[in-house]
């Protein structure tokens, strides 16, 4: 089974039957989504997908609808149920258009094609190597092979650009499965025209292109190298029906597709919560003491636990937040990180540390609250099946990998699950760990300050603002799609859409960076403001997001000062804004009122959105403790 981090289903057939018997459409969908949290084989994905289709309903609150076009050069029908059910697991409702085989060029180039009518948000190109590169004689020179690979890569780049420009879709290119049988042996990769070598070369080009052309790469070649090519490619199925991706790998494929799309939508997890006893080390610290627990070099089991610590540390370097959730005495648990010479992780690596005798579900809630992130951003790693079951039941939004019995496989299991999938590695990611430490220092300043004003002025905050630049785009995209709390409309955008906003001189785009004496928080707020087509002197704030790390620092006040000045300079008379309440953005329910906006009418019956307006001539500039940084002129 290829989605091995999920728990095995006990009686799938009965579960499905029970779900389908539920009358309420929303509740039924929730039950089906719960079934998708189990390890499903190929047949089960089809059954679940059938059930999903039978119980189709127009609205599915809590699930994000998404239009995906799958363009291919061989059979892909068997992949659709797997994508839709994996989507369910990630609370995405896929509407999929499968283009006719081998017609991907025409479909993209012809504005009258069904693909254009479908208007996908995402186009996934699932192609076989022989459709893109003509076969070459084995005697072909390195230059000839280079030319063929370059031409194929150039051809693909053209298709991507057409798709991005004319359809405004995000493009995902799937890497090519290397199914060529070796001809030469160990030196296969030395011969330029060896078939396996050519596939590897083209895949290398795709990896580069994913960085340069801003497409997303679905690297099934890497996945197949990990799982074994026979898991991914079944010669009988290929001969039987031109099925390149083996049906047994469809569930894994569906998961890879959805985690990539999820990352683009900001759904990846943010925090790894670790149990201690028998997870980070072997033994029980409270019983066995520092000398009794097994961790570190010299013991196979100790090294396996150390490998998990090392992996966690690397995740932290990547920007993932680490936390502890353990049933222990706090002082005893902390002593391991301070006093055990072999333990790699340090107490300061953890942004939250819950070691007590309280129920773990309670502790996870407290951790999410302390870090100011959603419970659905947590991954909970615990060797104890009972604790895992308890969390899955009481907090189904928390991801809980089904750790294998052997500690040797813990890291592999967490890595395979792909919880922390990312499409960018920004400066903010690299600094995040340090930012949580700086936050702790800020908190201690808050503790000693006599008043809020004294605290804020003591921070010596400096704000820097300006329109989006191309360098900012990855972070702008990440922030706008990841932020749930301070997000006025929870409107998500693709990179292409954001570049369009920035390129249109009529629009105002603003990004804000905040630094203080404890450190640089980086780019933490973004605003998109567009002129109203009917009333060009009225500008609409279509999106405004702010990182939760800088709440309560008056940045919203200073940002509005900047927005008003910029709008006035453009000849605006008023700013208008929508506030769309969600489950997560209650923190800003009074944002516009507090900034001096007036409410326009009452919300409609079936739409909780409120409309706000600010006549710029009435605006009272907000007083803040933030100093503006004067831009350098060089």
């Amino acid at each position: 089974m290829t989605v091995s981090w999920l728990p095995a289903a006990t009686d799938f057939r009965a579960g499905l039957k029970a779900a389908l018997a539920i009358e309420d459409a929303g509740e039924r969908l929730e039950r089906l989504a719960a079934l998708a949290q189990f390890q499903l084989g190929y047949l089960e994905t089809i059954q679940l997908d059938n059930a999903l289709r039978q119980s189709a309903c127009d609205s599915h609150p809590g699930f994000r609808p998404i239009r995906l076009a799958l363009l291919s050069s061989c059979t892909i029908d068997h992949l659709l149920p797997a994508i839709r059910t994996a989507g369910l697991r990630q609370r995405l409702r896929f509407e999929i258009y499968a283009g006719p085989y081998g017609q991907y060029r025409q479909e993209i180039l012809n504005p009258g094609s069904e693909l254009h009518t479908f208007d996908p948000e995402i186009i996934l190109l699932s192609l076989t190597f022989h459709d893109v590169v003509a076969s070459m004689p084995l005697a072909a020179s390195a230059d000839e092979v280079d030319a063929a690979i370059s031409s194929a890569a150039g051809d693909l780049a053209n298709i991507w650009n057409q798709a991005k420009d004319s359809i405004r879709a995000t493009v995902i290119q799937q890497s090519f499965l290397n199914v060529a049988e070796p001809l030469f042996g160990n030196h296969e990769q030395l011969f330029p025209a060896a078939p396996g070598r050519m596939v590897a070369r083209l895949n290398d080009r795709l990896i580069r292109a994913a960085g340069e052309e801003q497409i997303l790469l679905l690297d099934i070649a890497a996945a197949s190298a990990r799982d074994g090519i026979d898991t991914w490619f079944d010669r009988t199925r290929w001969l039987q029906g031109k099925i390149e991706i083996a049906p047994q790998s469809a569930p894994r494929y569906g998961d890879l597709v959805t985690r990539l799309i999820g990352a683009q939508l900001g759904q990846s997890k943010k925090c790894l919560v670790l149990d201690l006893d028998n997870t980070l080390w072997s033994g029980v610290i409270g019983d066995d003491g520092l000398e009794g627990i097994i961790v570190g070099e010299g013991s196979a089991v100790g090294e396996a636990h150390l490998a998990l610590q090392r992996y966690a540390k690397l995740l932290k370097e990547r920007g993932v937040i680490l936390a502890v959730c353990s049933k222990n005495e706090l002082a005893t648990a902390e002593s391991v990180f301070r006093d055990h010479p072999e333990v790699l992780l340090q107490r300061s690596d953890f942004a939250a540390f819950a070691a007590n005798w309280t129920d773990k579900a309670e502790n996870l809630r407290a951790i999410a609250k302390q870090l100011n992130i959603g419970l659905d951003s947590l991954v909970f790693v615990d060797d104890n099946p009972a604790e895992r079951a308890r969390i899955r039941e009481s907090l189904p939004m928390v991801a809980v990998p089904e750790l294998p019995a052997d500690v040797a496989d813990y890291v592999r299991c967490i890595a395979d699950a792909g919880y922390f999938e990312t499409i960018s590695f920004t400066a903010e990611d690299r600094q995040r760990a340090g930012q949580y430490e700086a936050n702790a220092e800020r908190e201690s300043l808050r503790g000693t300050a006599q008043s809020m004003d004294e605290f804020l002025s003591g921070l010596e905050m400096i704000v820097e603002s300006g329109p989006f630049t191309s360098i900012d785009m990855p972070r702008v995209h990440q922030l706008i799609n990841k932020t749930n709390q301070f997000n006025t409309t929870t409107q998500r955008y693709t990179r292409e859409e954001l570049s369009d906003f920035a390129a249109d001189p009529g629009n105002i785009t603003l990004q804000f960076r905040l630094a203080d004496r404890f450190g640089d928080n980086g780019l933490v707020s973004v605003m998109i403001i567009c002129p109203d087509s009917g009333e060009p002197d009225v500008f609409e704030v279509t999106s405004w997001v702010m990182s939760c790390r800088v709440f309560g620092r008056q940045l919203e006040d200073e940002a509005m000062n900047v927005a008003v000045e910029t709008a006035l300079a453009r000849g605006a008379r008023a700013l208008r804004a929508d506030l769309i309440p969600t489950k997560k953005n209650a923190v800003i329910c009074d944002l516009y009122r507090n900034l001096g906006f007036s409410q326009l009418g009452e919300p409609a019956k079936d739409d909780a959105r409120t409309r706000w307006i600010l006549e710029l001539s009435d605006y009272q500039k907000r007083c803040t403790f933030l100093t503006r940084k004067v831009p350098d002129n060089d």
Binding site: R13, L43, H78, R235, P247
Partner: protein, 85 residues
């Protein structure tokens, strides 16, 4: 497994696959006798049988099966090889 047990397993699998509990397979049943059992669902059925019973049909088998009985016979033979080996 007896032929009847294999047949029952097949019936269950095809019911799951086509979401149709009215299906009853016999040895003489052909694909054309079952609504919606198209070539795509034939591949799916073969994949499901292989996964459920831990066997692998040859490409010559999957191309030549005419009736459900043919699949039962080959399945029995593969299962017996398995236990003999």
């Amino acid at each position: 497994m007896t032929d009847q047990e294999i047949l029952d397993e097949f019936t269950n699998l095809l019911r799951d696959l086509l979401a149709d509990d009215s299906i009853v397979l016999g040895k003489e049943t052909k694909r054309s006798d079952v609504a919606n059992w198209d070539s795509f669902q034939y591949v799916n059925f073969i994949v499901a049988v292989e996964a459920r019973l831990g066997i692998k049909f040859r490409v010559s088998d999957v191309e030549s099966f005419e009736t459900v009985g043919d699949i039962v016979t080959e399945t029995r033979s593969l299962l017996n090889q398995d236990t003999a080996g």
